[in-house]
């Protein structure tokens, strides 16, 4: 295992880190206030106010229900979908797609990131190619993907995986490369090498960066899934939404959109939970 680094590799990685970690830092800053109930309440004031205004506007007839149904109608639609069980089917299918896409793309990204981060030969062999492919938007592949995989599950899985792969790959690579060399030197002089060195020093050192990648990826999963599900599907939130559009059921369309928002938020909470747990040693997360 080589822990050394060439200057060009570092520059590459640092450039990536600069673009990737900057937003994460600002997010973290706002998180700190969350422990205060008052602040949490305040952060909900705007969305609640908007919904109230929306309800009033709909009831007063300023908004046609064709454009935007009133919130109660959306709630009713959601309730109806939930009771008939339709909602859960779609929700389950979509979540399953997101999870499997994340697992495949994220797993591969982590694996290759660890590989290129750890072994210089792997970097030489793979990194240039991956950096090139990275610049292709995953969604630009749609026509090709449909040709390859048809409109089945496979195409959706592929799109989500490709999109999720890169944030995790890049941040893992960068994380491994930016582990403090002093710590590695220390650990080696204390007799650590091979897997113990990896487990006790390199992986934990790379973890903050890897988790930034996970958070980015979790955000991307839903974006990709929305598009993938609207192309063609027989189930899923995207299918439900597109279907409702055909029948001009704007309330169901809105339920679908709100579900995506909710799921996105849920994924973010999950990622934050992981950070809080795994990075509890980090002063920035205490």
């Amino acid at each position: 295992m080589s822990a050394g680094i060439t200057s060009s590799g570092v520059q590459d990685a640092v450039a990536v880190a600069a673009t990737v970690s900057a937003p994460a830092k600002s997010v973290r800053k706002t998180e700190r206030g969350d422990s205060f109930g008052g602040k949490q309440l305040a952060s909900w004031a705007l969305p609640v106010g908007l919904i109230v205004f929306w309800q009033i506007a709909a009831q007063a007839g300023w908004l046609s229900s064709r454009i935007l149904p009133e919130p109660f109608a959306v709630l009713r639609a959601a309730w109806h979908l939930a009771v008939t069980g339709e909602l859960w089917v779609h929700l389950g299918v979509s979540t399953g797609r997101a999870a499997s896409g994340f697992a495949v793309g994220g797993g591969l990204g982590l694996l290759l990131g660890l590989l290129t981060g750890t072994f210089r030969q792997a970097e030489t062999l793979l990194d240039t190619t991956l950096q090139m492919v990275r610049n292709i938007p995953a969604l630009a592949l749609i026509p090709l993907v449909i040709l390859w995989f048809g409109i089945d599950e496979m195409s959706k899985l592929f799109l989500v995986s490709v999109g999720v792969f890169f944030p995790i790959y890049l941040n893992t690579f960068h994380g491994i490369r930016s582990v403090d060399k002093g710590l590695i030197e220390m650990a080696k002089s204390y007799g650590l090498s091979g897997w113990p060195l990896y487990r006790d020093v390199i992986l934990p050192g790379a973890l903050p960066s890897i988790l930034v990648g996970v958070r980015f990826a979790l955000g991307l999963v839903w974006v990709l899934l929305i598009v993938a599900e609207t192309i063609s599907a027989q189930a899923g939130i995207g299918y439900m939404t597109m279907n409702a559009r055909e029948f001009l059921q704007t309330d169901v369309v809105l339920v679908g959109i709100l579900l995506y928002a909710l799921l996105g938020k849920l994924a973010d909470v999950l990622a934050r939970g992981l950070e809080k747990f795994w990075l509890r040693w980090h002063p920035g997360y205490q």
Binding site: K181, G182, L183, A187, S189, Y190, L192, P204, W281, H282
Partner: protein, 282 residues
Amino acid sequence: MMQNNHVETTEVKNTAERQVRGVRGVRVQAKALSKSYGGREVLKSVELDVKPGEFVAIVGRSGCGKSTLLRLIAKLETATSGDIAFAQDGHQPETRIMFQDSRLLPWKRVLNNVALGLPKSALASAAQALRQVGLEERGGEWPAVLSGGQRQRVALARALVHDPELLLLDEPLGALDALTRIEMQQLIESLWQKRGFTAVLVTHDVQEAIALADRVVLIEDGRITLDQTIDLPRPRARGNLAFAQIEEAILSRVLQHPASAPDSTLGDISLQKSVSQVQWAI
């Protein structure tokens, strides 16, 4: 001297072997040791013989090669020519290093940092080592909440829990405030007396060198230019006249030799980390 006192409870291994030898420390011999970086010779044929259990301080200006010598002894780098030999029987001595920055793993709790590289069953001896540096009750905390001095004490415990035959100290007190420094010096001295390991301390503080070492070695321009035995009784009072005279003599010896290179290592620690290891060492 008290090096012969080998009674120790926190020991991890080698009891039998050590009792046979009496002194825990190992002999260190540098023979015609040279090291160059990119054509620049940092150490020029250095000869140094450290007796078992001896405490040797290496002083010198920044960039004189003292850290490089230590890193060579620690096998963190390989010599360009020459050789370092340890005990006659040719075994690799148990060597531990203390760096200027504590280099604790921030994601391991203090106690687990001390137990780094030891089997799980050694947690008790890690706790014992923590007790010896006076931080027993901080074992469950993250290194991030400790002060600089406390971190160095943890680093010292981490080094000692392995019961080293050779302890290398690379300006471990350089970043501490004056009071914490003196405290740490006393702690290091007492642990060294108790355990009898061989100690090599690199420092730019002549007073620190005289307070701790049996022998002060001055390196200038990659060569040893002074090798003075310090014969003061321990513990050494800094106000002592003999102490002051020796300090004066060594300091004036250091100062009569003009600086050969601009200060490069005294700067900021973060800079040292980002610049390559090679530069850090010179």
